[in-house]
């Protein structure tokens, strides 16, 4: 005689250690099997877009820091790129060099957190401690430059808030030498760890056409095997002069586009970032980092959509100017916002424990999802 079964609703979050903040997932489960997942967001809606309308253009920059707080440099970068395109400002070479170095350092720091929490969520706590040690190294570099550990307000429209510290170049090189072996260590510790592979390979497989249609970007899209990177596709700053590879998922231990692929793309990207920094660090041109900052920032009437490659994917700012000192409207295209939509798609048919692994591999930041 067959037993009659019913599906059950399980709430995960908003207070859950693995939801990376205040996300709530409504799981419909049958036993251990997931039937559907519905994310509920908005628990961190901090009204960024309203603030942007009430502030002048430079005053918006500190608020952009707080969108994706793991990659504040990248957020600044996206905003100033958009605003500069609207105003037609050319920034000096030195500024571009420093900006790219900072953005790449930030990418490493952000991926470190992503990897660390992904591991910690599914039970590997040791890499978390190792990787946060290395992240502190990068934070020290930032702190030396602009005095803040996490939220920098460093890139200004047309320039930078501070020049780099005289020791910066030496310390960055030290960091590169220190970090290369760390990646090897990480691979031994976590990447090719049997348990970790068991938990992530063949889990949450994302086919590439679904990824494009939903609009996924960043490591999530590249993990599915498409080499799409805004730095290549739509080059901004000096990325068109730099040499770097775009790592894509290859299904090394499972299927292309599974959690492990998304994870491994991040590891490889950190190495590429080191490569970019190495190309620039010795040849930073001389000059003044504030010479191109306009006295009064008042863009002409019009609209602009500027996008950059943030650690989590394509970060875009859509700015409408009505010719005043305040933006008329700023809309943020947050990569995690779009990537999180995949949750429902990816979890179907997996077990409850896999939800954590999938969520960790998407690497979301609630600050930019809810804005």
């Amino acid at each position: 005689m067959a037993l009659k079964t019913e599906s059950m609703i399980l709430n995960m979050g908003p207070q859950h250690p693995s939801t990376h903040g205040v996300l709530r997932l409504e799981l419909e489960i049958e036993g251990e099997l997931i039937l559907s997942v519905k994310p509920h967001i908005g628990y961190l809606h901090r009204c960024f877009e309203k603030h942007a309308e009430a502030m002048t253009y430079p005053q918006v920059i500190p608020y952009t820091d707080r969108l994706d707080y793991l990659a504040a440099m990248g957020n600044n970068f996206g905003y100033v790129v958009a605003a500069e395109r609207l105003m037609g400002i050319q920034v000096p070479e030195r500024v571009e060099y420093i900006r790219v170095i900072m953005a790449e350092l930030q990418r490493i720091a952000s991926h470190l957190v992503a990897i660390a929490t992904n591991g910690a969520d599914i039970g590997a706590l040791t890499p978390f401690l190792y990787l946060f040690r290395d992240r502190e190294y990068i934070l020290t570099l930032f702190e030396m430059t602009c005095g803040a550990r996490m939220l920098y307000n460093y890139m200004w429209i047309g320039g930078l808030s501070h020049d780099i510290h005289p020791d910066f170049v030496r310390k960055t090189k030290e960091f590169i030498n220190h970090f290369r072996p760390t990646v090897v260590e990480l691979n031994n510790l976590l990447t090719f760890n049997k348990i970790f592979i068991e938990r992530t390979a063949n889990i949450g497989v994302l086919p590439v056409d679904t990824a494009i249609n939903i609009g996924a970007s960043g490591p999530v899209l590249r993990g599915s095997g498409l080499a799409f990177d805004v730095r290549r596709e739509d080059p901004y700053s000096i990325y068109d002069k730099l040499e770097f590879d775009i790592p894509v998922g290859q299904g090394m231990v499972g299927t292309v586009g599974d959690c492990w692929d998304r994870y491994y793309v991040r590891v490889l990207e950190m190495e590429q970032s080191l490569r970019i920094i190495e190309q620039l660090i010795d040849s930073i041109p001389d000059g003044d980092v504030q010479s191109a900052i306009p006295k009064r920032i008042k863009p002409p009437k019009g609209t602009v959509y500027g996008r950059v490659e943030n650690p989590r994917g394509e970060l875009g700012y859509f700015i409408i100017s009505d010719g005043n000192l305040n933006p008329f409207r700023v809309k943020v295209r947050a990569p995690s916002f779009v990537n999180l939509e995949l949750m429902g798609e990816l979890c179907k048919g997996h077990l409850v424990a896999d939800v954590i692994a999938i969520l960790g591999s998407l690497d979301i930041v609630l600050g930019e999802i809810d804005r």
């Binding site: 961190l44 901090r46 009204c47 309203k50 946060f132 040690r133 992240r135 996490m150």
Partner: protein, 163 residues
């Protein structure tokens, strides 16, 4: 007045007031509710990671409010979240302590003026023991906040809770 003032010379026996003993036990193992809200939560994570090592003060994250002694409000509290935080607070057993970390939890922080969906200070919903200023506070500042909380617990009395 340390606990070990009145140690007898042949060791092994310590005389202390029950109050001091209890306070000492309480303050040296503050288990915090493992739960982060916003940017400040990342600094909280950094505090419990390798460089700053929250663990040496006896602070470890517990994932359920029913086993937690303290809750660190680490970030912006929105209206949607405030009701949930209140419920978490009510689920915790007494004695319970609140550290409000960062300007957002203290008073709304950068969002105080135009934040139509931001609660301007967690103390409008639940009582706070220690406020840690900063945006975000450095890990050292959070540690200082914890030391302040320990001081507070050290001076507590069974008869009357110093609220």
């Amino acid at each position: 007045m340390g606990l070990l003032d009145k140690e007898f010379s042949d060791g092994n026996i310590v005389i202390a007031r029950a109050e001091d003993l209890m306070n000492w036990a309480r303050l040296s193992s503050i288990w915090q509710l493992g739960f982060g809200l916003a940017c400040c939560a990342i600094e909280m994570m950094a505090t419990s990671a390798s460089h700053y090592d929250f663990d040496r003060f006896g602070v470890i994250p517990r994932n359920t409010p029913r086993q937690a002694d303290a809750i660190i409000i680490s970030g912006t509290v929105t209206l949607k979240m405030a009701t949930r935080i209140k419920r978490l607070y009510e689920q915790m057993p007494d004695p319970k302590y609140i550290i409000s970390m960062g300007s957002c939890a203290n008073c709304g922080g950068p969002y105080w003026e135009h934040g139509y969906h931001v609660l301007k200070g967690i103390d409008r919903v639940i009582p706070v023991d220690v406020y840690v200023p900063g945006c975000p506070p450095r890990p050292e500042a959070l540690l200082e906040g914890l030391l302040k909380l320990q001081d507070k617990i050290r001076n507590e009395s069974i008869r009357k809770k110093i609220a």
